[in-house]
Symmetry: C2
DNA sequence: CGCGTTCTTCGAACCGGTTCGACATCTCTG
DNA sequence: CAGAGATGTCGAACCGGTTCGAAGAACGCG
């Protein structure tokens, strides 16, 4: 059931069938009807590979997501979902590519073999060879996150610096003086992940401006690490009264650590951070947080990519979002300093 | 930079280059080296569309996942991740297809246009027209979950009946007499989702056998719904001392509802259910649960699909898993009946 | 030396679409 | 009524690979 078969049964040439379907040249009403009827009868659909080969477009975009094997966070899930959904609206499919263990290989596969028309990259690093590489080749890509030199890239991202600072200020306003930062895992920070870096930056600067005493921690992307991290925080400075987390996956563990230590939230201890709204609502008390608009970021990334695909010479565009802090129930006034500690 | 260009620069014909790469016919060592050198110099990679067109295989599998737009659960995330990873090991890419709003359209796109060699389906219904349809066409597909008539399908799944029953028995052994079931959302149950149905089934039967008093609830896939559901449970039968949840996304809300109601877990109230291990560990106290081995299910699904693709006439195979309950901290002996309620 | 094998390599056909140029008809206009 | 222009259709070439049959070269053997 290929286009030749349709043509034969409709008594026309292959090209006529093609034009009838694409509408790129006029076809008489009579002929079009006959062709359509045959197509409907046979349930014909044009072969995607052949079409991609002929016109050089696959109608597929690649979603390059973080190393497989380790844990995914809820935020990443939200990105994937919203990207797929937004892409469908533009008639694009989404091909997943773990840029994991063998990063180069799957990258080569996607781009070198032209499986996709463009790509969306997640978990960007400040110095990101993937981005540099794509930039050199002028391959249509959009980053969720931005590199250090981001003027020439297309990206959507969060203003992690401002977000972390907002969290610090929120806590400072409530009277907290000794606070901690719970960052993403150390290997990610060391690898230069932008959210971890800029978040740390914003946190540190804002804390300095407000004259706060701070400690910063890296923490694995799971609940047990979160609990462990919290124990370390309280052990190293028992007078800590609040924390900011950039690590969503550790959230449950942080809460557990506080419960185990007998610190009531928010009476004895306040938490805030940068977390997607849906996940901030799963903990008790609900987390006061800068809600990561994962859904919007995914959608914007697709929109930018589609625009770039339609206009190959367009100048780089980007969106920097800085959602406000949603007040929920996990922060409160700093407790009066304990006399006996 | 196509195969013709390589051939020209290496001074051979296109077919020789093809054979040198595929190894399907012998090529002299001398020639092979010359070709390889040119390829390395130019960084040539064969075009995936052309290759797919020529040999009729795309080396891509489709992952048909639940309606977009609504919430994804952590379990679904784990599936996606493990499927992608396992597929990569067999040199397959994964194309995501939301079987959402316009289910037929994206289905047609994937299968009718031959974008994928095979498909993995998630969130199966007992009567699933997608599965029936694929079965009729003998299209290589593997379900994560099983339909009512599953003899002729390929699938991997959980024994939800047994799992729910195990949860009930665990609670009954601890002395609980009045328990509730928190199921997936009502529209999913009504649509015939197999996990919701079989889970409900196993729960009801086991409870009857043990002579327990039960109530069953449907609950939205998010924390606020979970909280609301718990309020309803305690309102409609304040003597309820335990619950089983099939709804992972509601978990945080259930815990919050209990906290708000002043019921201590596990002293006053026990929780258990069917939840992926990683997520069972995010709540405090950690959830005693039948751990959904999402990672293993995803991997097995890919293995079955690959086998089916390699042997088109193989007889249907499947894996039914029934992981044991992992004892954590959310269940305990039933509280002594309150005299005054 | 002649002949059958084996080893290499090539050209052509094919996969299933799209698109270009050409041609035949039909229609309008001066 | 001739010529220009628009309309509808077709055949051929092309996208970039794979694969088949055949042909030339090298080799072994009687």
């Amino acid at each position: 059931m290929n286009i030749g078969e349709i043509a034969k049964r409709a008594g026309v040439s292959r090209s006529t069938v093609s034009y009838a379907l694409s509408g790129k040249r006029s076809v008489s009403e009579e002929t079009r009807r006959r062709i359509q009827q045959v197509i409907d009868e046979l349930g014909y659909r044009p072969n995607a590979s052949a079409r991609a080969l002929a016109n050089g477009r696959t109608s597929t975009i690649g979603l390059v997501f973080p190393p497989a094997g380790n844990h995914y966070t809820g935020m990443q899930l939200d990105f994937i979902g919203s990207v797929v959904e937004a892409a469908a609206a533009y008639d694009y499919d989404v091909l997943l590519s773990p840029s994991g263990v063998d990063s180069d290989r799957s990258f080569q596969r996607l781009l070198g073999e032209r499986r996709v028309d463009g790509a969306i990259l997640m978990e960007i690093r400040l110095q990101d060879d993937r981005v540099d590489h794509l930039g050199e080749e002028n391959f249509p890509a959009v980053c969720i996150g931005r590199t250090a030199r981001s003027d020439r890239d297309w990206w959507v991202g969060l203003d992690h610096t401002a977000l972390a600072a907002a969290c610090v200020n929120h806590l400072a306003d409530l009277g907290h003086r000794r606070i901690a930062l719970v960052n993403r895992p150390e290997h990610l920070l060391r690898a230069g992940y932008e959210s971890a870096h800029r978040g740390l930056d914003g946190f540190t600067k804002a804390a300095a401006e407000r004259g706060l005493t701070v400690r910063t921690y890296c923490c694995g992307d799971d609940a047990p690490s979160g609990q462990e991290c919290l124990e370390r925080i309280l052990h190293e400075d028992p007078d800590t009264t609040a924390l900011v987390t950039l690590n969503e996956a550790a959230l449950g563990g942080l809460y557990r650590g506080l419960a185990v230590a007998g610190r009531h939230v928010p009476r004895d201890f306040s938490l805030t951070g940068v977390v997607a709204g849906r996940w901030a609502e799963t903990v008790t008390p609900q987390l006061t947080a800068a809600d990561v608009p994962a859904e919007e970021l995914g959608r914007l990334a697709v929109e930018l990519l589609v625009e770039r695909l339609d206009h190959p010479d367009a100048v780089p565009r980007h969106h920097l979002l800085a959602p406000p802090i949603s007040l929920r129930a996990s922060t409160g006034p700093a407790p009066a300093p304990a006399v006996n500690r």
